[in-house]
Symmetry: C2
Subunit: 356 residues, 2 copies
């Protein structure tokens, strides 16, 4: 398999390493920084460097665009222009609405791996970066089912758990579970640095809770300015919600209201448990087989419907009929109850479906 | 050495295990919960269980009080009442003003180890919990130098780095670096749970930034309600500061002001670097020897003065003269520059001091 990576930083480099190591793929890369490209070649993430986006994606069966969010519409557009008809083009950006709206091509599937590290740059790239990580995919009604399935299997091969979601929902959720934590981490380090400076430049040790809460503070501005701005409306709304919640706690503190503080803290404990349990859901894997017409959007519809219902597709495979008029899609679902729900949902979409 | 532990939860149990394993001490414990006491005996943290605070501290050379912050003044008071004249009594509470004000006894030194775990209860106690952890001590002008030194050496023996600080400064700093992160973690999990419920009970995977930011969310209400309330004024003030900072970012987001967002993020990165560098300060250890009069408060004065200047005392030892009228205190300081500063500060306090 030939894979192109456009933008070889931490994520692009890790995609390349994982694809080489685990899929046995041949990797071609491009980066607007010659130094980054050389570094990617030096660490063995790429088999060859290209001198343009077009040269990188020529002959590729899949192209991963891993550039800052603000540059995505242009760079994905350039990749689509040069890519073959059966090349799936995806990106790894942290917000999805803008790029999905700009790139309405059946070969494009927006993507976003929930993985990263404290350190940017290809020299920190790792082939195991995506092990067990959720990798959001944002197919649309335009998306080719064949290409979506290829990408899904590829990501599964990289060690990730692909999960379909629509771009709008993705950005709303990520505002809360990723962009907001980054904002709070920034606020917390700056507040601590400021307070400690006020205490006479004395910077004492901080505890584990502070280190955990601020691990992502001050992440690369090159990457994060774009992310914050591309998702500014949901993020600004989340900041309002946080200010509201902080004001409630603050009022209880000022009133010395132990009962309210304890109830508030217990509610947070319960919320955390719910979130953790949702993460840990799983169990034995069941296989479903559904017959679907071979037209763009079908696989996306199916994946989105299951995604909306909280059903995680562990793996999928598409078996087209000889005349390509229809196909069978196999879905592997973890847990008996989710598998049952998935079967009902697929049936409701009008596709014949059975437990394999 | 005979050590008493009053309150055998995660921290009390870990003190006991570490003291047995590393100091070869004999441990007696008391807990108002018989189940906790049995569990502490079962895991081998205690040599014997006592049926009262008084029985536990009788004959002890050191007593650690590890009960919720709200109960500290009473329990420390009871321990001091029963303890021998040369028994050092300390606590491990997360706020220090209230207990230090309530217990003005020369045998009492307030303490607070910056260590913990996601899990409460003695069954999670570990002898290595304090390895490398800062352990704040809040001596006052009343504090016995002999007993302070004993405690300092003991904590060093448990693997911790003791650091002197006055109770007021401790609580102000901890409001920012510990209690505020806990509040933000609570707010974040509840906001995420709420938002995800609004998205149709679909609870997708969250990324590493969310998990890190919310690790401490919903910590035990039994412990934390007391902590929040005992430090409510500094904490409420910190919440004001956070709301102010959030409002600034929010305005820049709404204005689409990339320059301000990038500058704000860069400032957070610089603040984080400063904080990390302060943590990592260190180097080779230098020994200073100072001659000090043998009266209460001298060691505390010295430790607080160095603490205020950001000098960390890696270890200390006190060698009293035969007539106990004066003594030599040895201080080990990491780093040539801090050692130089420490020497100047000790000299300025009027004590003869030399590099050993």
């Amino acid at each position: 398999m030939r894979i192109a990576v456009i933008g070889v930083g931490l994520i692009g480099g890790s995609v390349a390493l994982a694809a080489k190591e685990r899929l046995g793929a041949t990797l071609t890369g491009f980066d607007s920084s010659p130094a980054a490209l050389s570094a990617a070649l030096r660490i063995g993430a790429l088999d060859s460097g290209a001198d343009s986006i077009a040269a990188a994606v020529a002959d590729a069966e899949a192209a991963f665009v891993a550039v800052p969010v603000g540059a995505l519409p242009d760079v994905v557009g350039a990749a689509l222009e040069a890519a073959a008809d059966d090349c799936v083009v995806t990106d790894v950006g942290s917000t999805k609405r803008a790029v999905v709206a700009a790139c309405a091509d059946q070969r494009f599937v927006g993507g976003h791996p929930l993985a990263g590290a404290e350190t940017a740059g290809v020299e920190h790239a790792r082939g195991d970066l995506f092990d067990g990580a959720t990798w959001y995919l944002t197919p649309t009604a335009n998306t080719s089912g064949m290409l979506y399935e290829r990408l899904h299997r590829m990501l599964h091969g990289l060690g990730a758990h692909p999960a379909a979601i629509d771009a709008e929902t993705h950005d709303t959720i990520l505002a809360t579970v990723s962009h907001l934590p980054h904002v709070l981490a920034n606020v917390l380090v700056s507040e601590a640095a400021n307070m400690l400076a006020a205490e006479g430049e004395r910077l004492p040790a901080t505890g584990p809770s502070f280190r955990d809460a601020t691990r992502v503070a001050g992440a690369s501005s090159t990457i994060w300015t774009d992310i914050y701005l591309s998702n500014r409306d949901p993020l600004a709304a989340e900041i309002d919600a946080v200010i509201e919640r902080l004001s409630v706690v603050q009022a209880a503190l000022r009133a010395g209201d132990a009962e309210t503080i304890a109830a508030w803290n217990d509610a947070a404990a319960a919320d955390r448990r719910r979130l953790l349990e949702a993460q840990l859901a799983g169990g034995p894997v069941f296989e479903l087989r559904a017959s679907v017409p071979n037209r763009p959007g079908v696989i996306a519809e199916l994946a989105l419907e299951l995604g909306r219902a909280g059903v995680n597709i562990t793996d999928m495979a598409l078996y087209p009929a000889a005349d390509l008029s229809e196909g069978v899609v196999a879905l592997w679902i973890a847990g008996a109850e989710p598998a049952r729900r998935a079967q009902a949902l697929v049936a409701k979409l009008g596709f014949p479906v059975a437990r394999a």
